[in-house]
C-alpha cells in the first residue's frame, strides 16, 4: 500500500498539525501551512484529525498510486487530473492501483493537502510526523519528496472500495472557511512604537506579498512603516502569524516554519482563524489588515472550529452511507 512520486514537485513534504513542546530547544513547530485544508482533507477520507498529509506546492508532483486507495485533496486548487480526467478538490476520490494523479495548473492558492484514507506510514520524530527541513528530521526521511520515492500508507482504517474509482458525487463546501476579505490581526507588543502615520498605513494600506515568501514567512511590500524610537530589542518568543517590522521597513509574517524567537518589533499578529487564508495568498496578491480584539479573534476561531466539526460529521455520514465504514 503506497504511492510513488513519478515526478517531484516544487516542495512536497509530509506534514501534520505540528511539533509542539520543543520550542525551548529552538525546534520550531512546523506542520501544515493551511490547517483548514489539513482538517478537510482528512475528514473527507474518514481519518482522525491530525493524520499527516502530503503538502504540495506548485508545480505539484506527478503521483502514481501502487494500490487501490481513497484520497482527498484540499487547499490550493492545482487542477487535479486523475488518469487525465478532471477530478475536484474537496471530494472523496477512489483510486485504482496504477492510476496517475497530476496537476495541470495553479488556479487558486499556494499549498494543497493530499490525505489518504488510513494515513501515511512515517515514523514520528519528537511526537510529530511533520518534516522539519532545517533539522533534516521527521516526515519522510527528514526531507522533501524526490522523484522515485515510494511513500507507504499506514492502512489504519478499513478500505472497502469495491473496485470503484473516480470522485464521490458530493463535495465539501469550504468557501466559508476562508476569509477573502481583510486579514484580521491583533496588535503586537511593539505596535505603540509605530509612528501615527505608520499606524494609519498599516490599518488602511494595501500590502503585496513578495516573491521572497516561503513556509518560514511571507514578506510584504507596501506603504512605508517606521517606528518612533529606534529601540533595540532582545530576542523573545514569536509564533505563527507574528508580523515583524524589518529594519528595511518591510513586514514579515511568520508562517509554519517560523523561528522560535525573534528580535524585530512585533507590531501585530494575524489571528489563527485567518492564517489559512493568508497562507493561500500567492506572491503579488494584495493583503489588507484589519485590527480586531482578542475576543473577536477567539470567536472567529470558534466559528471556524464548529464549521469544521460539522463538515467532519457530514463526511462521516456520507462515507458510512457510501461504503458502510
Amino acid at each position: 500500500m503506497s504511492l510513488r512520486i513519478i515526478r517531484k514537485g516544487l516542495l512536497d513534504t509530509i506534514q501534520d498539525g505540528g511539533r509542539f513542546g520543543f520550542q525551548h530547544l529552538g525546534i520550531n513547530p512546523g506542520g501544515v501551512s493551511d490547517p483548514v485544508a489539513h482538517y478537510v482533507a482528512n475528514a473527507l477520507v474518514g481519518n482522525v484529525a491530525g493524520e499527516p498529509v502530503l503538502e504540495m506546492h506548485y508545480p505539484a508532483p506527478q503521483i502514481q498510486f501502487l494500490t487501490d486507495c481513497m484520497i482527498a485533496i484540499s487547499g490550493a486548487n492545482f487542477t487535479p487530473l486523475l488518469n487525465d480526467t478532471d477530478v475536484e478538490n474537496d471530494c472523496t476520490i477512489l483510486i485504482k492501483a496504477g492510476s496517475i494523479l497530476r496537476f495541470a495548473g495553479q488556479v487558486w492558492g499556494v499549498c494543497a493537502c493530499l490525505a489518504v484514507r488510513g494515513g501515511f506510514a512515517v515514523k514520528p520524530w519528537l511526537a510529530s510526523k511533520s518534516t522539519n527541513l532545517k533539522a533534516g528530521a521527521g516526515g519522510f526521511a527528514g526531507r522533501a519528496l524526490l522523484t522515485g520515492d515510494v511513500l507507504p500508507f499506514a492502512n489504519s482504517l478499513p478500505n472497502h472500495l469495491g473496485g470503484k474509482s473516480g470522485a464521490g458525487s458530493w463535495r465539501a463546501n469550504v468557501s466559508a472557511l476562508y476569509n477573502r476579505g481583510n486579514i484580521r490581526c491583533v496588535a503586537g507588543a511593539e505596535y505603540d512604537l509605530l509612528t501615527p502615520a505608520a499606524r494609519q498605513n498599516l490599518d488602511r494600506g494595501s500590502f503585496a506579498i513578495t516573491g521572497r515568501s516561503d513556509r518560514m514567512g511571507y514578506q510584504l511590500e507596501g506603504p512605508p512603516l517606521s517606528v518612533q524610537v529606534d529601540t533595540s530589542l532582545i530576542s523573545t518568543g514569536v509564533t505563527g502569524g507574528t508580523i515583524q517590522l524589518l529594519p528595511n521597513g518591510r513586514l514579515i509574517v511568520l508562517m509554519a516554519d517560523h523561528q522560535t524567537t525573534g528580535g524585530y518589533p512585533r507590531i501585530a499578529h494575524v489571528i489563527r482563524a485567518d492564517l489559512p487564508s493568508l497562507a493561500q495568498k500567492r506572491a503579488g496578491e494584495a493583503v489588507q489588515f484589519e485590527f480586531v480584539d482578542i475576543a473577536t479573534a477567539e470567536q472567529a476561531l470558534l466559528i471556524q472550529h464548529r464549521h469544521l466539526l460539522q463538515l467532519k460529521n457530514a463526511c462521516n455520514f456520507r462515507l458510512a452511507a457510501a461504503f458502510g465504514n
Partner: protein, 237 residues
C-alpha cells in the same frame, strides 16, 4: 522570598502570551525566566502546548480550542492569564544556581575562523588574545533559538564584542562559533547567518536521532577550550 522583580504580560497573537521580566541580558533576570520555565514544566498549565524561554521573557503558547473544551466561562486568553498570574504570585526571586558546566572544544584555525582576523583587528588585538579572551570566560546559556539547538551564550568580554556582519553569509557551516555584539553562539546546523565566525567546534550540537537531540539546555554553563586543527579533524572523524 516572593517575586519583587517587576514583570509585564502581553499577548503574542491570539494563542500565546509573554511574561517579560525586563529587556536586557542579565543573569539574575534570566534565572527568573528559567525558574518560571522549570515551574511550568514541572506543574504544567493545562492546554499549554509550548514554552519559549528567552533572555528575559517566557512565552507561553496555548491551544484555544482545548481551553474551550475545559471551560466556557472566560475567554481562552483570560483563563490562561489568570493561571499564569497565580503561578507568578508563587514564584520567588530565589537565586537559581546555573546548570551544569559543559566544556566545548573549539578550533580557532584560520580555515575555520573566517572573521577572527577582523574581530582581532577591530579591537587592536592579536588573534591569540581574542582566543584567550573567548576561552577565559564561563558563559551562560541564556536561551536556545533561531535554529534547532542554537545556544545564545553571554556575555563576551567587551574587548571582543563585535557587531554582526552587515551582509549575512548565505551558508555558515554547522559547528561554527560566532560573536554578535556581546553574545556568542554555536551554529548547531548549517544555515545562513550574520555572526562573526571565530572558530568551529567538532562537537555535534544537534543530533536529531539522539535521546537528547540538543546538547545544551537554558541555564547551562559553557566554557570553550582551544584545540588544534589536527585535534579538530580527529574529533570530527
Amino acid at each position: 522570598m516572593t517575586l519583587t522583580n517587576p514583570y509585564e504580560i502581553f499577548q503574542v497573537g491570539d494563542h500565546a502570551i509573554t511574561v517579560a521580566f525586563g529587556n536586557e541580558i542579565d543573569a539574575h533576570i534570566n534565572g527568573l525566566v528559567i525558574n518560571f520555565f522549570d515551574e511550568l514544566k514541572a506543574n504544567p498549565i493545562p492546554c499549554v502546548v509550548d514554552l519559549i524561554p528567552a533572555y528575559a521573557s517566557l512565552t507561553i503558547v496555548y491551544d484555544i480550542v482545548s481551553i474551550w473544551q475545559v471551560q466556557q466561562q472566560r475567554s481562552a486568553s483570560e483563563w490562561i492569564k489568570a493561571d499564569v498570574l497565580n503561578r507568578l504570585s508563587h514564584l520567588t526571586d530565589a537565586y537559581r544556581p546555573a546548570g551544569s558546566l559543559k566544556r566545548i572544544p573549539v578550533c580557532y584555525a584560520p580555515s575555520l575562523a573566517p572573521d577572527l582576523d577582523y574581530v582581532a583587528s577591530t579591537h587592536q588585538l592579536t588573534t591569540n588574545e581574542v582566543i584567550t579572551l573567548h576561552t577565559a570566560h564561563v558563559y551562560r546559556v541564556y536561551m536556545l533559538g533561531f535554529l534547532p539547538g542554537f545556544p545564545y551564550l553571554a556575555t563576551v568580554h567587551p574587548k571582543i564584542a563585535t557587531p554582526r556582519k552587515a551582509q549575512p553569509r548565505k551558508l555558515v557551516p554547522a559547528g561554527s562559533v560566532g560573536i554578535a555584539g556581546e553574545q556568542t553562539g554555536i551554529y548547531a546546523l548549517p544555515s545562513p547567518g550574520g555572526w562573526q565566525l571565530i572558530g568551529q567546534t567538532p562537537v555535534q550540537m544537534f543530533k536529531p536521532d539522539g535521546e537528547q537531540p540538543v546538547a545544551l539546555s537554558p541555564g547551562d554553563q559553557v566554557q570553550f577550550y582551544s584545540i588544534s586543527l589536527q585535534e579538530f579533524n580527529h574529533l570530527k572523524a
